[in-house]
Symmetry: C2
Subunit: 186 residues, 2 copies
Protein backbone atom coordinates (compact mmCIF):
# COMPACT_ATOMS: atom_id res chain seq x y z
CA UNK A 1 0.00 0.00 0.00
CA UNK A 2 1.50 3.24 -1.17
CA UNK A 3 1.09 6.00 1.43
CA UNK A 4 -1.77 8.48 0.98
CA UNK A 5 -0.86 12.00 -0.03
CA UNK A 6 -3.59 13.29 2.25
CA UNK A 7 -5.31 11.49 5.10
CA UNK A 8 -9.04 10.84 5.13
CA UNK A 9 -9.95 13.50 7.68
CA UNK A 10 -7.98 16.27 6.01
CA UNK A 11 -9.32 15.22 2.62
CA UNK A 12 -12.92 15.35 3.78
CA UNK A 13 -12.28 18.76 5.34
CA UNK A 14 -10.96 20.08 2.04
CA UNK A 15 -13.89 18.64 0.09
CA UNK A 16 -16.27 20.10 2.67
CA UNK A 17 -14.93 23.61 2.19
CA UNK A 18 -15.26 23.41 -1.58
CA UNK A 19 -18.77 21.96 -1.53
CA UNK A 20 -19.99 24.47 1.06
CA UNK A 21 -18.67 27.48 -0.83
CA UNK A 22 -19.30 26.35 -4.40
CA UNK A 23 -22.48 24.32 -3.87
CA UNK A 24 -22.99 20.74 -4.97
CA UNK A 25 -23.56 21.58 -8.64
CA UNK A 26 -20.82 24.20 -8.68
CA UNK A 27 -18.18 22.00 -7.06
CA UNK A 28 -16.54 20.42 -10.09
CA UNK A 29 -14.20 17.45 -9.85
CA UNK A 30 -11.51 19.68 -11.31
CA UNK A 31 -11.86 22.06 -8.39
CA UNK A 32 -12.14 19.29 -5.81
CA UNK A 33 -9.00 17.80 -7.34
CA UNK A 34 -7.07 21.03 -7.26
CA UNK A 35 -8.11 21.84 -3.68
CA UNK A 36 -7.16 18.39 -2.40
CA UNK A 37 -3.99 17.94 -4.43
CA UNK A 38 -5.28 14.60 -5.73
CA UNK A 39 -5.93 13.96 -9.40
CA UNK A 40 -9.47 13.07 -10.39
CA UNK A 41 -8.65 9.37 -10.76
CA UNK A 42 -7.24 9.37 -7.23
CA UNK A 43 -10.41 10.92 -5.89
CA UNK A 44 -12.30 8.09 -7.58
CA UNK A 45 -10.02 5.59 -5.92
CA UNK A 46 -10.98 7.04 -2.54
CA UNK A 47 -14.64 7.54 -3.45
CA UNK A 48 -15.64 5.01 -6.16
CA UNK A 49 -19.09 6.57 -6.52
CA UNK A 50 -17.65 9.96 -7.30
CA UNK A 51 -19.01 13.30 -6.19
CA UNK A 52 -22.09 11.75 -4.64
CA UNK A 53 -19.96 9.63 -2.35
CA UNK A 54 -17.63 12.52 -1.55
CA UNK A 55 -20.63 14.56 -0.47
CA UNK A 56 -21.98 11.67 1.59
CA UNK A 57 -18.62 11.51 3.36
CA UNK A 58 -18.71 15.24 3.99
CA UNK A 59 -22.24 14.99 5.36
CA UNK A 60 -21.28 12.11 7.61
CA UNK A 61 -18.25 14.01 8.87
CA UNK A 62 -20.34 17.08 9.64
CA UNK A 63 -23.00 14.92 11.25
CA UNK A 64 -20.34 13.41 13.51
CA UNK A 65 -19.05 16.85 14.39
CA UNK A 66 -22.45 18.05 15.52
CA UNK A 67 -23.27 14.81 17.25
CA UNK A 68 -20.19 15.28 19.42
CA UNK A 69 -20.12 19.06 19.66
CA UNK A 70 -23.82 19.85 19.80
CA UNK A 71 -26.05 16.90 20.70
CA UNK A 72 -23.75 15.23 23.22
CA UNK A 73 -23.07 18.47 25.03
CA UNK A 74 -26.70 19.55 25.00
CA UNK A 75 -27.74 16.27 26.63
CA UNK A 76 -24.83 16.10 29.11
CA UNK A 77 -26.63 16.56 32.40
CA UNK A 78 -23.37 16.46 34.33
CA UNK A 79 -22.68 19.99 33.18
CA UNK A 80 -24.55 23.16 34.08
CA UNK A 81 -27.04 23.97 31.35
CA UNK A 82 -25.85 27.54 30.83
CA UNK A 83 -22.33 26.25 30.37
CA UNK A 84 -23.60 23.69 27.86
CA UNK A 85 -25.34 26.41 25.88
CA UNK A 86 -22.24 28.59 25.72
CA UNK A 87 -20.15 25.60 24.75
CA UNK A 88 -22.35 24.54 21.83
CA UNK A 89 -22.57 28.11 20.57
CA UNK A 90 -18.78 28.33 20.62
CA UNK A 91 -18.57 25.12 18.63
CA UNK A 92 -21.09 26.47 16.15
CA UNK A 93 -19.06 29.64 15.73
CA UNK A 94 -16.00 27.53 15.11
CA UNK A 95 -17.74 25.36 12.51
CA UNK A 96 -18.93 28.39 10.57
CA UNK A 97 -15.68 30.28 11.13
CA UNK A 98 -17.51 33.18 12.73
CA UNK A 99 -19.82 33.47 9.75
CA UNK A 100 -17.16 33.29 7.04
CA UNK A 101 -17.89 29.74 5.90
CA UNK A 102 -21.38 28.77 4.67
CA UNK A 103 -23.50 25.90 5.96
CA UNK A 104 -23.75 22.74 3.90
CA UNK A 105 -27.56 22.99 3.87
CA UNK A 106 -27.97 25.81 1.35
CA UNK A 107 -25.21 24.24 -0.74
CA UNK A 108 -27.36 21.11 -1.01
CA UNK A 109 -30.77 22.80 -1.07
CA UNK A 110 -30.83 23.56 -4.78
CA UNK A 111 -30.43 21.62 -7.99
CA UNK A 112 -29.06 18.12 -8.06
CA UNK A 113 -27.85 18.36 -4.46
CA UNK A 114 -31.38 18.65 -3.20
CA UNK A 115 -32.60 15.72 -5.25
CA UNK A 116 -29.87 13.55 -3.71
CA UNK A 117 -29.66 14.78 -0.13
CA UNK A 118 -33.05 16.12 0.93
CA UNK A 119 -33.42 13.38 3.52
CA UNK A 120 -30.05 14.05 5.14
CA UNK A 121 -30.84 17.76 5.31
CA UNK A 122 -34.09 17.10 7.14
CA UNK A 123 -32.32 14.77 9.57
CA UNK A 124 -29.66 17.35 10.27
CA UNK A 125 -32.30 19.96 11.04
CA UNK A 126 -33.97 17.51 13.42
CA UNK A 127 -30.71 16.91 15.32
CA UNK A 128 -30.27 20.64 15.82
CA UNK A 129 -33.89 21.11 16.84
CA UNK A 130 -33.84 18.35 19.45
CA UNK A 131 -30.53 19.54 20.89
CA UNK A 132 -31.67 23.11 21.38
CA UNK A 133 -35.04 21.91 22.64
CA UNK A 134 -33.21 19.94 25.32
CA UNK A 135 -31.22 23.02 26.34
CA UNK A 136 -34.42 25.06 26.44
CA UNK A 137 -36.32 22.65 28.66
CA UNK A 138 -33.32 22.30 30.99
CA UNK A 139 -33.28 26.09 31.24
CA UNK A 140 -36.86 26.02 32.48
CA UNK A 141 -38.89 26.72 29.38
CA UNK A 142 -41.85 24.44 28.88
CA UNK A 143 -41.65 21.84 26.13
CA UNK A 144 -43.68 23.78 23.57
CA UNK A 145 -41.83 27.04 24.06
CA UNK A 146 -38.46 25.28 24.04
CA UNK A 147 -39.39 23.72 20.71
CA UNK A 148 -40.29 27.07 19.21
CA UNK A 149 -37.11 28.65 20.54
CA UNK A 150 -35.07 25.81 19.09
CA UNK A 151 -36.59 26.25 15.67
CA UNK A 152 -36.04 29.99 15.80
CA UNK A 153 -32.43 29.38 16.78
CA UNK A 154 -31.85 27.31 13.65
CA UNK A 155 -33.64 29.87 11.54
CA UNK A 156 -31.53 32.66 13.00
CA UNK A 157 -28.28 30.81 12.37
CA UNK A 158 -29.19 29.88 8.80
CA UNK A 159 -30.46 33.36 8.02
CA UNK A 160 -27.46 35.04 9.62
CA UNK A 161 -25.10 32.92 7.50
CA UNK A 162 -26.92 33.93 4.32
CA UNK A 163 -26.95 37.62 5.19
CA UNK A 164 -23.37 37.62 6.51
CA UNK A 165 -22.24 36.04 3.26
CA UNK A 166 -24.30 38.44 1.17
CA UNK A 167 -22.83 41.47 2.91
CA UNK A 168 -19.40 39.88 3.46
CA UNK A 169 -19.75 40.92 7.09
CA UNK A 170 -19.06 38.40 9.82
CA UNK A 171 -20.40 40.78 12.46
CA UNK A 172 -23.91 39.89 11.31
CA UNK A 173 -23.27 36.31 12.35
CA UNK A 174 -21.46 37.05 15.59
CA UNK A 175 -24.20 39.45 16.63
CA UNK A 176 -26.83 36.80 15.97
CA UNK A 177 -25.00 34.29 18.16
CA UNK A 178 -24.96 36.86 20.96
CA UNK A 179 -28.69 37.42 20.56
CA UNK A 180 -29.29 33.69 20.75
CA UNK A 181 -27.37 33.60 24.01
CA UNK A 182 -29.49 36.40 25.42
CA UNK A 183 -32.73 34.79 24.27
CA UNK A 184 -31.94 31.74 26.39
CA UNK A 185 -30.16 33.25 29.36
CA UNK A 186 -31.85 36.59 30.12
Amino acid sequence: MRPSKIDDIELVNVLSRVIRTRGYDGASLAELSEASGLKKASLYHRFPNGKTEMTEAVLKHIDNFFDRNLREIAYDENRKVAERLLSVLDNIKEFYENGGLPCIIPALSVGEGYRLFAEQIAQSIDLWTSSFTKLGTDLGFDKAEAGLKARNTLIKIQGALIVANGLQDKEVFKQSIEEIKESYLS
Copy 2:
Protein backbone atom coordinates in the same frame (compact mmCIF):
# COMPACT_ATOMS: atom_id res chain seq x y z
CA MET B 1 -41.65 40.39 -36.60
CA ARG B 2 -42.98 36.95 -35.85
CA PRO B 3 -45.02 36.95 -32.60
CA SER B 4 -43.34 35.74 -29.42
CA LYS B 5 -44.42 32.38 -28.07
CA ILE B 6 -44.14 33.78 -24.57
CA ASP B 7 -44.07 37.42 -23.53
CA ASP B 8 -41.13 38.91 -21.68
CA ILE B 9 -42.77 39.05 -18.27
CA GLU B 10 -44.01 35.48 -18.32
CA LEU B 11 -40.66 34.30 -19.67
CA VAL B 12 -38.74 35.99 -16.88
CA ASN B 13 -41.13 34.52 -14.34
CA VAL B 14 -40.49 31.02 -15.67
CA LEU B 15 -36.73 31.54 -15.69
CA SER B 16 -36.94 32.92 -12.16
CA ARG B 17 -38.64 29.81 -10.83
CA VAL B 18 -36.05 27.53 -12.38
CA ILE B 19 -33.06 29.54 -11.18
CA ARG B 20 -34.46 29.89 -7.67
CA THR B 21 -35.15 26.19 -7.27
CA ARG B 22 -32.18 24.77 -9.17
CA GLY B 23 -29.57 27.40 -8.35
CA TYR B 24 -27.48 29.28 -10.90
CA ASP B 25 -25.08 26.42 -11.57
CA GLY B 26 -27.84 23.82 -11.51
CA ALA B 27 -30.15 25.66 -13.89
CA SER B 28 -29.08 24.27 -17.26
CA LEU B 29 -30.13 25.81 -20.54
CA ALA B 30 -31.87 22.53 -21.33
CA GLU B 31 -34.07 22.95 -18.26
CA LEU B 32 -34.63 26.64 -18.85
CA SER B 33 -35.60 25.77 -22.40
CA GLU B 34 -38.03 23.06 -21.38
CA ALA B 35 -39.64 25.19 -18.68
CA SER B 36 -40.13 28.15 -20.99
CA GLY B 37 -41.15 26.22 -24.10
CA LEU B 38 -38.46 28.02 -26.09
CA LYS B 39 -35.57 26.17 -27.70
CA LYS B 40 -32.08 27.09 -26.58
CA ALA B 41 -31.39 29.14 -29.70
CA SER B 42 -34.57 31.13 -29.05
CA LEU B 43 -33.46 31.86 -25.52
CA TYR B 44 -30.21 33.19 -26.97
CA HIS B 45 -32.20 35.38 -29.33
CA ARG B 46 -33.96 36.93 -26.34
CA PHE B 47 -30.82 37.00 -24.15
CA PRO B 48 -27.72 37.20 -26.39
CA ASN B 49 -25.39 36.88 -23.42
CA GLY B 50 -26.94 33.61 -22.35
CA LYS B 51 -27.57 32.46 -18.81
CA THR B 52 -25.78 35.44 -17.31
CA GLU B 53 -28.14 37.83 -19.05
CA MET B 54 -31.18 35.71 -18.19
CA THR B 55 -30.21 35.87 -14.54
CA GLU B 56 -29.64 39.62 -14.77
CA ALA B 57 -33.16 39.97 -16.18
CA VAL B 58 -34.55 37.84 -13.35
CA LEU B 59 -32.70 39.94 -10.77
CA LYS B 60 -33.96 43.15 -12.33
CA HIS B 61 -37.51 41.82 -12.37
CA ILE B 62 -37.32 40.81 -8.72
CA ASP B 63 -35.73 44.14 -7.85
CA ASN B 64 -38.64 45.92 -9.53
CA PHE B 65 -41.12 43.77 -7.64
CA PHE B 66 -39.65 44.65 -4.28
CA ASP B 67 -39.18 48.27 -5.20
CA ARG B 68 -42.91 48.51 -5.84
CA ASN B 69 -44.18 46.04 -3.28
CA LEU B 70 -41.78 46.64 -0.43
CA ARG B 71 -39.84 49.91 -0.63
CA GLU B 72 -42.61 52.10 -2.08
CA ILE B 73 -45.15 50.87 0.42
CA ALA B 74 -42.76 51.13 3.37
CA TYR B 75 -42.06 54.77 2.51
CA ASP B 76 -45.67 55.72 1.66
CA GLU B 77 -46.51 58.08 4.50
CA ASN B 78 -50.06 58.52 3.24
CA ARG B 79 -50.88 55.11 4.66
CA LYS B 80 -50.96 54.06 8.30
CA VAL B 81 -47.69 52.42 9.22
CA ALA B 82 -49.26 49.26 10.64
CA GLU B 83 -51.20 48.84 7.42
CA ARG B 84 -47.98 49.29 5.43
CA LEU B 85 -46.28 46.59 7.47
CA LEU B 86 -49.09 44.11 6.93
CA SER B 87 -49.18 44.93 3.25
CA VAL B 88 -45.46 44.35 2.66
CA LEU B 89 -45.54 41.11 4.63
CA ASP B 90 -48.44 39.92 2.47
CA ASN B 91 -46.45 40.74 -0.64
CA ILE B 92 -43.46 38.87 0.75
CA LYS B 93 -45.61 35.83 1.45
CA GLU B 94 -46.88 36.01 -2.11
CA PHE B 95 -43.40 36.26 -3.59
CA TYR B 96 -42.19 33.22 -1.67
CA GLU B 97 -45.47 31.37 -2.17
CA ASN B 98 -45.92 30.95 1.58
CA GLY B 99 -42.47 29.43 1.91
CA GLY B 100 -42.74 26.99 -0.98
CA LEU B 101 -40.48 28.90 -3.38
CA PRO B 102 -36.88 29.73 -2.43
CA CYS B 103 -35.27 33.15 -2.49
CA ILE B 104 -32.93 34.04 -5.33
CA ILE B 105 -30.17 34.92 -2.84
CA PRO B 106 -29.13 31.42 -1.76
CA ALA B 107 -29.43 30.32 -5.40
CA LEU B 108 -26.79 32.92 -6.29
CA SER B 109 -24.73 32.68 -3.11
CA VAL B 110 -22.64 29.70 -4.15
CA GLY B 111 -20.43 28.79 -7.06
CA GLU B 112 -20.41 30.75 -10.28
CA GLY B 113 -23.54 32.65 -9.31
CA TYR B 114 -21.79 34.29 -6.41
CA ARG B 115 -18.82 35.28 -8.51
CA LEU B 116 -21.14 37.03 -10.96
CA PHE B 117 -23.83 38.52 -8.75
CA ALA B 118 -22.36 39.26 -5.32
CA GLU B 119 -22.88 42.99 -5.80
CA GLN B 120 -26.56 42.65 -6.73
CA ILE B 121 -27.15 40.43 -3.70
CA ALA B 122 -25.68 43.03 -1.37
CA GLN B 123 -27.81 45.75 -2.97
CA SER B 124 -30.92 43.67 -2.59
CA ILE B 125 -30.20 43.16 1.10
CA ASP B 126 -29.73 46.90 1.50
CA LEU B 127 -33.12 47.65 -0.07
CA TRP B 128 -34.82 45.30 2.36
CA THR B 129 -32.92 46.69 5.32
CA SER B 130 -33.75 50.31 4.58
CA SER B 131 -37.41 49.50 3.95
CA PHE B 132 -37.90 47.68 7.23
CA THR B 133 -35.86 50.30 9.04
CA LYS B 134 -38.27 52.94 7.74
CA LEU B 135 -41.24 50.91 9.01
CA GLY B 136 -39.54 50.48 12.37
CA THR B 137 -38.81 54.16 12.87
CA ASP B 138 -42.35 55.11 11.81
CA LEU B 139 -43.62 52.65 14.39
CA GLY B 140 -41.72 54.54 17.06
CA PHE B 141 -38.52 52.57 17.46
CA ASP B 142 -35.40 54.66 17.54
CA LYS B 143 -33.12 54.55 14.54
CA ALA B 144 -30.61 52.09 15.99
CA GLU B 145 -33.21 49.66 17.21
CA ALA B 146 -35.16 49.89 13.97
CA GLY B 147 -31.99 49.02 12.08
CA LEU B 148 -31.37 45.96 14.24
CA LYS B 149 -34.98 44.85 13.90
CA ALA B 150 -34.79 45.26 10.13
CA ARG B 151 -31.68 43.12 9.90
CA ASN B 152 -33.25 40.48 12.11
CA THR B 153 -36.32 40.51 9.91
CA LEU B 154 -34.24 39.68 6.84
CA ILE B 155 -32.36 37.04 8.76
CA LYS B 156 -35.60 35.47 9.92
CA ILE B 157 -37.10 35.41 6.44
CA GLN B 158 -33.96 33.94 4.86
CA GLY B 159 -33.54 31.37 7.62
CA ALA B 160 -37.21 30.43 7.58
CA LEU B 161 -37.05 29.80 3.83
CA ILE B 162 -34.05 27.51 4.26
CA VAL B 163 -35.63 25.56 7.11
CA ALA B 164 -39.06 25.42 5.48
CA ASN B 165 -37.47 24.02 2.34
CA GLY B 166 -35.36 21.56 4.31
CA LEU B 167 -38.38 20.23 6.18
CA GLN B 168 -40.79 20.71 3.26
CA ASP B 169 -43.05 22.49 5.71
CA LYS B 170 -44.50 25.87 4.77
CA GLU B 171 -45.81 26.36 8.30
CA VAL B 172 -42.27 27.21 9.37
CA PHE B 173 -42.34 30.18 7.03
CA LYS B 174 -45.86 31.31 7.78
CA GLN B 175 -45.19 31.13 11.52
CA SER B 176 -42.08 33.28 11.08
CA ILE B 177 -44.05 35.94 9.22
CA GLU B 178 -46.53 36.03 12.10
CA GLU B 179 -43.70 36.42 14.59
CA ILE B 180 -42.29 39.30 12.55
CA LYS B 181 -45.70 41.00 12.71
CA GLU B 182 -45.79 40.59 16.48
CA SER B 183 -42.24 41.86 16.90
CA TYR B 184 -43.24 45.14 15.28
CA LEU B 185 -46.83 45.59 16.46
CA SER B 186 -47.02 44.27 20.00
